[in-house]
């Protein structure tokens, strides 16, 4: 340490250059750091989507999901595979271990997709990977406003899909633009089955004819008068008329045209999603998805600029109106923490000036803040941490602590400069002062960094949320350590003067505050030193208060971050039709609009183009746009407004409504987590058996003491019309199963027969029966199937048509179907409950072979987290203990300092209790920070007391004297830390909910811990010092 001090003071210029280099590097890093709202908690995940028109969940699972799943098995770093087979859509989520490179995993998945494609039958869809994005990727939603009223929803959708989409996709950082709402334009050829019979033409023949009469070819070139003429044969159908005039057959020179057997018109593709607005109409809308790893704020800015350009080229009367922008959130979140940071800096600077009494040392100390922050930016860039609520929050927390080391140093230099003999050189004094406190500074800061280690072991969502904070705190502290060790003394030597050369009068005046504080403090501390047991009582009393209050605290995992956008999620019956879904949603929209604060309501029902959402049509997400907060009348906060809206909409028949937020919603969807504490998963083959056994398990579990809200998944609920082909019947006519299937597919579902090109825009030609001939089960039964020899047989003669209730979706995990039974536990330890439950299931439920029960849910994650913490926390404590021990070399000193911790915790607990906050992860992060700060205070004081004892001052006097002398640094470090956090405590902006419990805990804890350090430690120092004195003497 001595060597270091000498080196630093000798090479002042080198140190300064080093400092400047770090500052420059920090500034450069800052400009290149991505800015997000929150840390991205999305898992490492590649989604594989397969759209298959018209297939039921069972078929999707069999033909599409399973082959994809099987292909994905055995990939490196694979964690698990989960899939959902919905009507018409298969989603396979391939989860990789956290931290796996997204491009690497996509490449792996893509390779395997080739195999999967071969296994999927022709015409059953092509599996594709989702956009290269995460749960935070949905940065901007917009809708198209048509003030002219001239454009149909189909035309608007065409503008969205063929103009806006491609324009926006050219913006760097935008990976996908997904359209929803309106109708995708199609050419519908609606067949009249009676006409087919009349002219004896089959559906397949018509499809072939359309295909055969719609193409262009190239025929090289011919040479003519030394010029080359390219030969084109143009035969593409360009409009409805071209289609109408396709000749199907010709009898005696009389052609039969397509128009004779079919109505041809422009229609909309089958849709599984709709966008509605203000309860009156449908709109067309788009969602802009950001590329993974790009800077949200930059991309959003570029998109906005592009939108302005596009608005100019759109047809008269059409305008793009953004209705959700993540920018607002990013800006608000960054503003919240930046404000806290700035105010913190100012408050800290004020404290410095107040206590130091002069500007010069304050400048040296204050410089620690920008240096540490800039240093953290370098680190953030290195560790790929974006600027967000949590990482900046970490800096805000650390503000007060960054200056602590330098405060101790500069304060000591300041004090010694004043007392030093006239002839001693400034450098010498500084070196001496530095030497005195260098060890405790080094150890104190190191301990704070070590204290944050447990946070690095957090996993999953909590880990991803709080690790950036742990990183920035640790980085900032490391920066402050570097500053204190390498730069502070150099700067002190440049800025600070010996008092002899300065003006003495001024200095005395400025120390006024401190003198008065000492005046009050001295008698109190003397009293406590005399009446030691009183101090012990005080400490024990506080501790008891803490122990009593602690169990009364509520608890939650992490407070919900208010994103500032209210989304009302509606869940309707799984069997609902899209039209009914729209109607119901619009009823709710109208009700919400009655709230005076609401300006606009835009709802997405189901899903649009795949990539972002996979919701079925019974699920709607309503974005509620609000007036500016200053115009609110019925409510003051978002939570209150949610209550008002809840009140206004009341109970909507057949609809479950709950509030959520855009990012929260998307992330939840990706995590696919079970929200209950406990999830019993039953794996097995047969859907009916699964359902039956799940119900059995649920009823068994309900009887286990402590069970609450036991609820098996509702897996069924979608009605199906099943056409079961009678093999004997088709055998009599010599018809193949395929012949029947083809007719059903084409007649009812529709078959694409090529495309119509309008420039480069292409629109499908869909051939199917006119709705009169396929709209009811009876009509489907009448569909004629052509048998060999040209005879026609109605479908109902070849197959039975039944209405049944089928699965609404099939969920699979690791290639097995499963069903979840959710459950909460009340008034009992979960571990015991699980044990009892397992026994109960074993005794009462007989599972067929191949069926398996596992227990999971939030509790499992928490158990794992607790298990890790039970290992990590003692290790951290041990490391702290060793650090302290190596610093003080005495067990008793070390214990005395550790005594600070429980009393600091008491303050935190009481503060939480008073403010009504819950015990949560951020609160425990606060407790962790408290550890470090409390230890630091104790160290500063105990070091000096030891020094005095070594100098031979009697114990009681030393206790009082030491305490008085160290009043300034102890108070200063405590107050800077506390004041640095005050802005976070008082902040009301976006994201303040997460930081508030943390600030509450630290400020409360600092209060009690400072009290202890100043009053109790000097008092009981005697008990912890006697041995040391003996040891010194024997040494």
């Amino acid at each position: 340490m001595k060597k270091l001090i000498r080196f630093v003071l000798k090479n002042r210029l080198l140190m300064l250059a080093l400092g400047l280099l770090i500052v420059a590097g920090g500034y450069y890093s800052y400009n290149n750091l991505p800015i997000d709202a929150f840390p991205d908690v999305s898992p490492s995940l590649v989604q594989v989507f397969t759209v298959t028109q018209g297939l039921a969940p069972e078929e999707i699972e069999k033909y599409v999901t399973f082959p994809v799943e099987v292909a994905m098995n055995g990939l490196p770093n694979l964690e698990h595979i989960r899939s959902v087979s919905n009507f018409g859509l298969s989603v396979v989520n391939v989860y990789f271990k956290d931290g796996t490179d997204i491009y690497f995993s996509r490449q792996l998945v893509n390779e395997r997709l080739q195999e999967a494609r071969e296994q999927i039958p022709e015409g059953f869809g092509d599996p594709e990977m989702g956009p290269i994005s995460t749960g935070m990727g949905l940065i901007l939603f917009y809708y198209l406003e048509d003030t002219s009223g001239k454009y149909s929803l189909t035309e608007l959708r065409t503008i969205q899909d063929w103009l806006i989409k491609y324009q926006l996709q050219t913006v760097p950082g935008v990976t996908e633009v997904l359209g929803i709402g309106g109708w995708e334009k199609q050419y519908h050829v609606e067949l009249d089955p009676n006409s087919l019979l009349r002219y004896d033409i089959s559906v397949n023949e018509i499809i072939e004819k359309i295909r055969a009469n719609n193409l262009n070819v190239g025929a090289q070139f011919i040479e003519k008068n030394s010029e080359e003429f390219i030969v084109r044969s143009v035969g593409l159908a360009g409009n409805i008329e071209d289609l109408q005039n396709i000749v199907l057959s010709s009898e005696d020179g009389i052609p039969i045209y397509l128009r004779q057997v079919a109505d041809i018109q422009i229609g909309g593709a089958i849709r599984r999603g709709v966008q509605t607005r203000n309860g009156i109409k449908e709109v067309v809308s788009g969602q802009v998805v950001k590329l993974y790893g790009t800077n949200s704020s930059t991309v959003i800015r570029r998109v906005e600029k592009k939108l302005k350009e596009i608005n100019k080229i759109l047809p008269q009367g059409i305008r793009i109106v953004p209705y959700y922008e993540q920018k607002t959130l990013v800006e608000a979140a960054v503003k919240t923490v930046t404000n806290a940071l700035l105010i913190g800096v100012i408050l800290v600077a004020l404290i410095l000036i107040l206590f130091m009494g002069s500007l010069r040392p304050s400048i040296v100390v204050a410089l620690a803040i920008p240096f540490s922050i800039l240093f953290s930016f370098i680190g953030m860039r290195f560790f790929n941490i974006s600027i967000n609520l949590m990482s900046f929050g970490g800096l805000a927390i650390a503000i007060g602590m960054m200056v602590d080391g330098t405060i101790v140093l500069v304060e000591n230099i300041d004090r010694m400069l004043r007392k030093s003999p006239e002839e001693e050189s400034k450098f010498h004094v500084i070196a001496r002062a530095f030497g005195e406190v260098s060890r405790p500074i080094f150890f104190a800061i190191t301990i704070i960094i070590v204290v944050f280690l447990p946070l690095f072991t957090l996993q999953g969502v909590e880990g991803k949320t709080f690790r950036p904070l742990a990183y920035t705190v640790a980085l900032a502290m490391l920066g402050s350590l570097l500053f204190a060790m390498l730069l502070a003394s150099v700067l002190a030597s440049m800025f600070m003067r010996k008092p002899g050369t300065g003006k003495k009068g001024q200095e005395i005046k400025e120390n006024f505050l401190l003198r008065n504080l000492v005046k009050i403090y001295k008698p109190v501390v003397s009293y406590f030193v005399k009446k030691r047991f009183l101090a012990v009582f005080l400490a024990v009393g506080l501790l008891i208060v803490g122990v009593v209050i602690f169990p009364q605290l509520g608890s939650e995992f992490a407070p919900k971050v208010q994103e500032g956008t209210i989304v009302l999620r509606l869940t309707m019956a799984p069997s609902i039709s899209l039209n009914k879904s729209i109607r119901t949603t619009q009823v709710v929209e109208r009700r919400v609009l009655k709230v005076p604060e609401v300006t606009e309501v835009i709802t997405r029902i189901g899903r649009g183009e795949v990539g972002a959402h996979t919701d079925p049509i019974n699920s709607a997400e309503m974005y509620i746009l609000l007036k500016d907060k200053s115009e609110w009348r019925t409510a003051g906060t978002q939570a209150e407004l949610e209550d008002v809206i809840r009140e206004e909409i009341g109970n909507i028949p057949g609809v479950l409504a709950n509030f959520t937020q855009p990012i929260q919603m998307t992330v939840d969807e990706l995590l696919e987590g079970v929200r209950a504490e406990l999830a019993i998963k039953l794996y097995g083959e047969d859907l009916n058996t699964l359902k039956e056994k799940a119900d059995e398990i649920a009823s068994v579990i309900r009887r286990v003491p402590g069970a609450a809200d036991v609820q098996p998944d509702q897996v069924s609920g979608t009605p199906q019309l099943v056409i079961k082909i009678d093999r004997h019947a088709i055998a009599r006519y010599g018809i193949n199963v395929e012949d029947v299937q083809q007719v059903v597919h084409a007649a009812v579902g529709g078959e694409t027969a090529g495309q119509i090109f309008e420039g480069v825009r292409r629109f499908d030609i869909l051939v199917r029966f006119h709705s009169d001939f396929r709209g009811t089960p009876e009509a489907i039964g009448q569909i004629l199937v052509e048998a060999p020899k040209g005879i026609h047989v109605p479908l109902s003669q070849l197959a039975t048509i039944e209405e049944i209730v089928g699965p609404r979706q099939i969920t699979r995990e690791n290639s097995q179907r499963f069903i979840t039974i959710q459950c909460n536990v009340v008034g009992l330890d979960i571990g015991t409950f699980v044990e009892n439950g397992q026994k109960a299931i074993e005794q009462n439920v007989k599972l067929p072979p191949g069926y398996l029960v596992t227990w999971g849910g939030q509790f499992r994650l928490q158990q794992e987290a607790n298990k890790r913490l039970i290992v990590v926390v003692p290790i951290t404590l041990l490391v702290i203990f060793l650090l302290l021990f190596s610093s003080f070399k005495f067990l008793k000193n070390t214990l005395l300092i550790l005594l600070n911790i429980p009393l600091a915790l008491v303050g935190g607990v009481v503060a939480l209790w008073i403010t009504g906050e819950n015990l949560s992860v951020p609160a425990s992060v606060g407790f962790i920070a408290l550890f470090g700060i409390a230890l630091e205070n104790g160290m500063v004081l105990v070091t000096y007391l030891n020094q005095l004892i070594r100098d031979g001052v009697p114990l009681d006097d030393a206790s009082v004297k030491g305490a008085i002398l160290r009043l300034r640094p102890v108070l200063m470090t405590a107050m800077t830390t506390a004041l640095g956090l005050i802005p976070l405590l008082l902040a009301t902006g976006v994201g303040s909910e997460v930081q508030r419990p943390l600030a509450t805990v630290v400020i409360g804890g600092l209060f009690t811990s400072t009290l202890l350090t100043l009053l109790v430690v000097p008092a009981i120092y005697k008990w912890f010092a006697t041995d040391m004195k003996n040891e010194i003497q024997t040494n």
Partner: protein
């Protein structure tokens, strides 16, 4: 004294380790307390009702398109849809073949000309006797086919003159096997061409005793009067055979039926709410259905939009299970 101090030291350190560990265990263990309490409150609200009853305001009835009707008697007409074609009544068709081979000397009628019984159609000079003879119509009707040109030598029956009386035509309907049990002679049948609203009603007068071996369809016949000739033979027609038109004591539209908990129910007004009433259904057509049991005459029931009520009853279940 010293032991004492040591004791305090250890005690305090023990306390503090305890405190720390509880902080973590506690904040990890009970995170979901808040959320599940609210859930519980919700479910207790719903499960409080012994009977399944949905209460709904008058405005909501309107908003969600729920219509209420009073159960009562009604007519249940049932029909079978068939296709077929117009053919000439064979009793009113004459194939007139010139008796002796010869040369056509004169043609008096054209295709489409109306003719009377006994009217001369053509004059032919016999090859054998070189005498001219008249070819006369055997019935009243119209010439619908004729292959005679002046000077042409006629040697065989291929040169017949077809005369048909189209004031009455047959409609031959193809009856698929599945429909055979319902088709009986005397049933009212509505014939249409499918393109316009032109419809004509007739009765089934004949059903073929055998089913065609090739097409596996039987033929049912309706005789149609065709005074103005609109029903041209060869026209492809659709037929709706009315197979029943019964008076039924309780009849409801099909939109009133809902499937609830694997049973067919009708939502019935009870007190200030609606309750799902399991019903047994009888005969039905494409729009209405007969209720055999479960619904009494005069009861108010939901004739349309019962889905909303069903969804309201199932709400708890589909909410919990919704998982992404």
């Amino acid at each position: 004294m010293r032991m004492n101090k040591k004791g305090i030291t250890w005690l305090l350190s023990l306390v503090f380790i305890l405190v720390i560990s509880t902080v973590f265990v506690k904040c990890g263990g009970e995170n979901k307390k808040d959320s599940h309490q609210t859930e519980k409150a919700d479910s207790s609200r719903e499960s409080g009702h012994e009977e399944e009853i949905v209460r709904i305001t008058v405005e909501e009835l309107e908003e969600f398109g729920i219509e209420i009707a009073i159960a009562g008697a009604g007519k249940l007409d049932r029909h079978v849809d068939l296709t077929g074609e117009i053919v000439i009544d064979p009793d009113r068709l004459a194939h007139i073949v010139p008796r002796f081979p010869g040369v056509v000397k004169e043609v008096r009628k054209k295709i489409g000309s109306p003719v009377k019984k006994g009217e001369v159609l053509a004059i032919i000079e016999s090859n054998e006797s070189l005498a001219s003879y008249e070819v006369k119509s055997l019935i009243d009707g119209k010439v619908i086919d004729m292959h005679l040109t002046i000077g042409e030598v006629i040697a065989d029956a291929g040169h017949s003159i077809v005369i048909a009386d189209l004031s009455r035509v047959w409609v031959n309907l193809n009856v698929y096997q599945k429909d055979l049990p319902y088709i009986k002679t005397g049933l009212q049948t509505i014939i249409s061409t499918g393109y316009d609203s032109k419809e004509k009603s007739g009765k089934i007068s004949y059903i073929s005793p055998v089913v065609d071996e090739k097409t596996r369809t039987a033929t049912a016949r309706v005789v149609l009067a065709n005074p103005d000739g609109t029903w041209k033979p060869g026209l492809f027609v659709n037929a709706k055979v009315i197979t029943g038109n019964d008076n039924v004591p309780i009849i409801v539209p099909k939109t009133a039926l809902e499937t609830f908990e694997n049973r067919t129910v009708v939502f019935v007004k009870q007190g200030d709410g609606f309750t799902p009433q399991p019903v047994t259904i009888g005969r039905s057509n494409s729009t209405v259905v007969e209720i055999v049991a479960g619904l009494k005459s005069g009861q108010k029931y939901v004739s349309k939009g019962g889905f909303t009520l069903k969804a309201e009853l199932q709400k708890e279940a589909f909410g919990e299970g919704h998982e992404h």
